[in-house]
Subunit: 161 residues, 2 copies
DNA sequence: TTAAAATGTTAGCGAAGGCTAACAAAAAAT
DNA sequence: ATTTTTTGTTAGCCTTCGCTAACATTTTAA
């Protein structure tokens, strides 16, 4: 079953809330996603039908095994994209997060896997700042400003929610 | 004015049809986008209101200056993404095109610009197949399988529509 | 333990962007 | 110059996913 972008956002949000709280509430989800409670309510009923969450009227909200599986994959996609946008393309953090969030639904698991591998390779390689000529001796020594460092910097400036 | 993904698809399609034909017709657009004529008709009325196309009932369809400007930017986005997905990540052509099409709306002009610059840099650098260690002598000589070559290959297999 | 506050639900609306059915106009063919 | 075919339009429906207004339930506090 192919989920919509909106549904993926719900799963992601519920997953992240579950990690911080014992009970996930409609209000929490609404707040985090910046939408209204009725919108959340409607979505939850659908996710329940899809067997991605357990949920009863006025009852608890929790991901099913399948829902959690989905959520993890979605989060992995977004994280990978953020790392690429921030660490490799040097896009400003907030902008990168926004774009990663919007892009992730469009990318297959396989493509994300390839991107992830590519990032690893590039991070190992370091960021060649000298004019990008591997035949040039200077390249060997310009690996000091790495994408890894940029990522660390972006991470440090993070605000805990 | 921020266009929707759907509206961008229409502009892109009209632009590409204009390049091949003297007159762009509702039927052409519907066929190319794989949707019905009434859907096209409705969209055209909106694009006209947005001053992105000139269009009268039973009349000609043509991009305005602003519409063409938008179309070019949209196509550039998709092309850049395709080059990255095919040439760098080595994603299979059809899959890459599909994903690029879906991703492009989410990416800003600036981010695409950065991606474009990055691709240029990597293409110049060549594709390091030897284990990705610039300190390794082998890296210097393994630039024979470049992303550029992969792109050429993908392009050669293209079917003219 | 009952009143107030917080939380959750239901009903129904609206925009986007597809669709079908039915009809109108234009172009092509006889 | 009619008829047929192709093309274009209109009307109205459906789904997704937001929203507000109104109400129900639960929790908290007096």
């Amino acid at each position: 079953m192919q989920l919509t972008n909106s549904q993926e956002e719900y799963l992601k949000t519920i997953y992240l809330l579950e990690k911080n709280k014992q009970k996930v509430r409609v209000t929490d989800i609404a707040q985090k996603m910046n939408i209204t409670k009725p919108s959340v309510n409607k979505a939850l009923r659908i996710l329940k039908d899809l067997k991605l969450i357990n949920y009863e009227v006025y009852g608890n909200i929790e991901l099913t095994k399948e829902g959690r599986q989905n959520a993890k994959e979605i989060i992995k996609k977004q994280d990978t994209l953020e790392i690429f946008l921030i660490g490799i393309l040097e896009i400003e953090k907030k902008q990168a997060e926004e774009e990663a969030k919007a892009i992730k639904h469009a990318m297959s698991k396989e493509s994300i896997e390839k991107l992830d591998n590519y990032i690893t390779k590039i991070l190992d390689l370091g960021d060649l700042k000298c004019g990008y000529d591997v035949n040039n001796e200077k390249c060997r020594s310009c690996i000091k400003i790495t994408a890894r460092e940029r990522l660390k910097k972006a991470k440090d400036s993070e605000i805990k929610i």
